[in-house]
Amino acid sequence: MTSPDSAVSSAVSERTKPHVPGELGIWCFVAGDLAVFTVFFVLIALGNGDQAQVFAQSRASLELWIGVLNTLLLLSGSWLVATAVERCRESVQSGSGPDTRGAALQFALAILTGVLFVANKSLEWGIKIAHGITPATNDFFMYFFVFTGIHLFHVLIGLGVLIALRRVSRRERLDSKALRTIESGATFWHLVDLLWIVLFALFYLI
C-alpha cells in the first residue's frame, strides 16, 4: 500500500504532531482518579502529622523489601507495556505486522509482573494478619490496608485490561482503532504504577 519511504516520513510527521495517547476519554478517567488519590495522599500525610509516634512505629514494622520489590515489579511491567505499545505502533505505521508477536510476549510478561505483585501483596498482608495486625490495630494500619487495598483493586482491573490488550495485539493486522485501544489500556496500567510510586513513598519510606 505505502512504500517504506512514505511510511517512515509519515511516522516522522506523526511524531512532530501532538497526539493524545489513546483517546481523550481515558485521560478523563486518569484525571478523575488522580484527583481522588490526591485526596488519599493528603489524608495519609495528615494522619502522619497528627499521630507521628504511631505512624513511625507502625512503619518500622513493615517489610520494606516487599514494598521495594513491588515497586520494581510495577516499574518493569510499565516498561514492558510501553515498549509493547511502541512495537504495535511501528507495526501499524509500517503496514505489515513484523513485531506484534514480540509485543504479545511483552504483554504476557507484564501480566506476570502484575500477578507477582498481587502474590507479594498477599504475602505481606498474610504476614501482618498472622502477627495479629489488622486494619483495627491503629490508624496507620487502617490507612495502610484500605488504601493499598483500593490500589490492589486497580491492579486487578489492570490485569484484566492487559489480558485484553494481549489478545488485541495478536490480531493479524492492527488498525488505528486497535492501536487506540492498546494505548488507552496501557495508559491505565501506567496509572496503576504511578499511584503505587506515591503510596510506596508515603507508607514505607517517610
Binding site: L75, W79, P98, A186
Partner: protein, 96 residues
C-alpha cells in the same frame, strides 16, 4: 529522534533509559527513606527527598511511559502542574 523512525533493536529505546532511571531513583528514594527513619542526618531534608524522588518518578512515568511527551500542550502541562502542586502540598503537610 532515531528511536521511532527505525525499529532497529540496536538503538536503545527511550523507554528503556526511563526504566533504568526509575530503578536508580527507587534506590535513591530507599536511601532517603533509611535516613528519614534512621534519625541520623537531617530527617526533614530526607522526608522532602523521599517525596521529590517519588514525584520525579511519577513525572517520568507520565512523560515517557504514558507518552505525554508527544501529547498536546494543555494535557502535558496539566500533568506537570499536578505533579508540582501535589508534591509541594505533601511536602508542606509532612514538614509542618
Amino acid at each position: 529522534m532515531n528511536d521511532t523512525s527505525s525499529p532497529s533493536r540496536l538503538t536503545v529505546r527511550p523507554a528503556t533509559i526511563a526504566w533504568a532511571l526509575l530503578m536508580i531513583a527507587t534506590a535513591i528514594g530507599w536511601w532517603f527513606g533509611e535516613t528519614a527513619q534512621g534519625g541520623s542526618g537531617d530527617v526533614r531534608l530526607a522526608i522532602a527527598g523521599v517525596l521529590v524522588t517519588a514525584f520525579a518518578k511519577v513525572w517520568l512515568v507520565g512523560f515517557q511511559f504514558m507518552e505525554l511527551r508527544g501529547a498536546p500542550r494543555l494535557l502535558r502541562h496539566a500533568f506537570d502542574a499536578w505533579v508540582v502542586i501535589a508534591c509541594a502540598a505533601l511536602i508542606i503537610i509532612c514538614l509542618r
